[in-house]
């Protein structure tokens, strides 16, 4: 078994995604600890510019080229990765826990007979075991999982698990022209689709009041809108509110919605799973109101109130009226 760590680079529309640099940071640390090395594996059609960006972040870059790899397609990615992994037998293959890896990693693992732990936030090697740390039950409990590395293995790392830092490396670049023996015509990528933009751009807001499941009913949103207007804030939300159709998609904060960086973010009745935290953790000041003292949102907030939002919000409104 080699001591090489493969990091599968994610890119979209010609730009490497941030999570890839986080992965490389994590992978370089992991490789240093075990006396191994990292290989950034990038798949695509026109890769030269992106390869330049990666050079200082890995020991080696493997560029897998084919026109079918231009836009992400899990089947072509899987074919290409399978042959390079079989050929090189890396100790570990790392991907981001992203939409792309949801589509790719479980099938790749099955096709190769490799163990897969998805969504970990940390990992280490103990003897011949890879041990990961995962957040389960909405971030309220930590779970430690492991697999034996005899054949290798795959992990996907939660975005935001580590801050990306410069690698200070100088990678040798290896280009591989991939050929495919078959075409995957039963699954065809057509196009990217943007979700419709609304009147309010929450990414530009200085003050955001965000609501989650704790708002309970659609009718309760009017009271929040009124509160928001009184301090010049806009109303945003977590995913369940959009799923229920109570607010449009462009008000959703989180990894599948918008990333916001307001001066103040007031989270009302939001438990704070990692997807939501990804979208708001860089706000200057975060104030959270939640009935559950163990809600993960309090780990991200600067100030917290463990109480019913329907008691706290009217009280804040009263105070504001007195000012």
């Amino acid at each position: 078994m080699s001591k090489e760590i493969f990091v599968i680079i994610e890119h979209r529309r010609g730009t490497i995604r941030d999570v890839s640099y986080e992965l490389l940071t994590k992978a370089n640390d992991f490789a240093n600890n075990i006396g191994g090395s990292t290989a950034a594996v990038i798949l695509g059609n026109e890769l030269d510019e992106m390869v330049q960006h990666l050079k200082s972040s890995a020991h080696k870059i493997i560029a897998l080229k084919n026109e079918k790899l231009g836009d992400f397609h899990s089947e072509y990615y899987q074919e290409a990765l399978k042959s390079i992994i079989e050929e090189r037998s890396p100790l570990l293959v790392m991907l981001g826990h992203t939409s792309a890896s949801y589509d790719l990693a479980p099938a790749l693992a099955v096709a190769m007979g490799l163990p897969l732990i998805s969504g970990c936030s940390d990992l280490r090697l103990e003897g011949n075991k890879v041990i990961t740390l995962n957040q389960v039950y909405g971030g309220k409990i930590n779970a430690e999982y492991s697999f034996e590395t005899e054949k290798g293995g795959i992990i996907t790392l939660l975005p935001g698990s580590v801050p990306a830092k410069p690698g200070g490396l100088s990678a040798e670049v290896e280009e591989v022209n991939v050929s495919f023996e078959r075409e995957f015509e039963d699954k065809v990528f057509i196009q990217f689709v943007e979700s419709a933009a609304g009147e309010i751009d929450i990414t530009q807001a200085e003050k955001i009041i965000a609501i989650g499941r704790g708002i309970k009913e659609e009718d309760n949103i009017a009271m929040i809108e009124e509160f928001a207007q009184s301090i010049g804030a806009v109303v945003a939300c977590s995913r369940p509110i959009v799923d229920a159709g109570w607010l449009p998609k462009d008000r959703q904060v989180g990894s599948s919605g918008k990333t916001v960086k307001p001066k103040v973010y007031i989270a009302l009745g939001i438990s704070g799973d990692f997807q939501h935290l990804m979208g708001m953790r860089n706000a200057d000041t975060i104030i959270a109101v939640n009935k559950d003292p163990n809600a993960p949102i309090f780990g991200a907030a600067d100030y917290g109130i463990v109480d019913d939002l329907f008691k706290v919000v009217p009280a804040i409104k009263d105070k504001l009226a007195q000012l």
């Binding site: 949801y102 990693a105 039950y137 409990i141 697999f147 699954k187 065809v188 100030y303 009280a315």
Partner: protein
Amino acid sequence: MNSVVCIKRVPETAEATLKIDPANRKLEVDNLVFGINEADNYALEQALLLEEEFGGEVIVVSVGPPETDEIIRMALAKGAGRAIRISPENLSELDPYSIAKLIAHELEDEEYDLIFTGCQASDDGFSQVGVALAELLGIQHLSMAVKMETEEESATVNRELEGGLMAQYKLNFPAVITIQTGLNEPRYASILGIKRAGSKEIRVVEPGSWNEKMVELNKLSFPPPGKMAEIFQGSPAETAEKVCEVLKTKGLL
């Protein structure tokens, strides 16, 4: 059009106080309320909508203990035709791969155009079973569907990417599609549906101790106290005052 829907029984943990068993392997579930995994509920709805449009049958599959029959009955009450419950002895030790294997094995003799699963379970959050299942069955898959336009033998599906972006694919059947929350509006069961569900078949499969797993759960623990918000104590009037002070100090009022 025949669809299989894989559903999972999960505890509602968002507002609950959680406890871990003394062996640090399992959640103590005595005080928890269980229900269908949220994304699976949208998956079920999608299958029911297709049955209404194209005809055919909806088959529900779940890997779980006898208590799982509660969510299975509810799926049958909403309109699914029949169900298969797979109940291995060592369920709590199984990893997503072995769960997918169990389901794949049971589906060998079934005829289906589509298999739906939720794209993620709210308990372990792995997001693996649906896509692993497709690979085991040797069929196409697409994960995180947020929009779906279906024809007799294919569908145009938008999958969710990050930042509000979607990727649109054309997918021929048979296929596995994993469904993201928000795709449709899950229905409630009718009284008549609930009555009818009682006579529908739940076939129970007991594969004994199932040993295919590649990933071990070592232990569960509570997250160590890390960075924590300064918690304002007191009555709503008192905590509200402190919020106003913060806003004022930061020049936000």
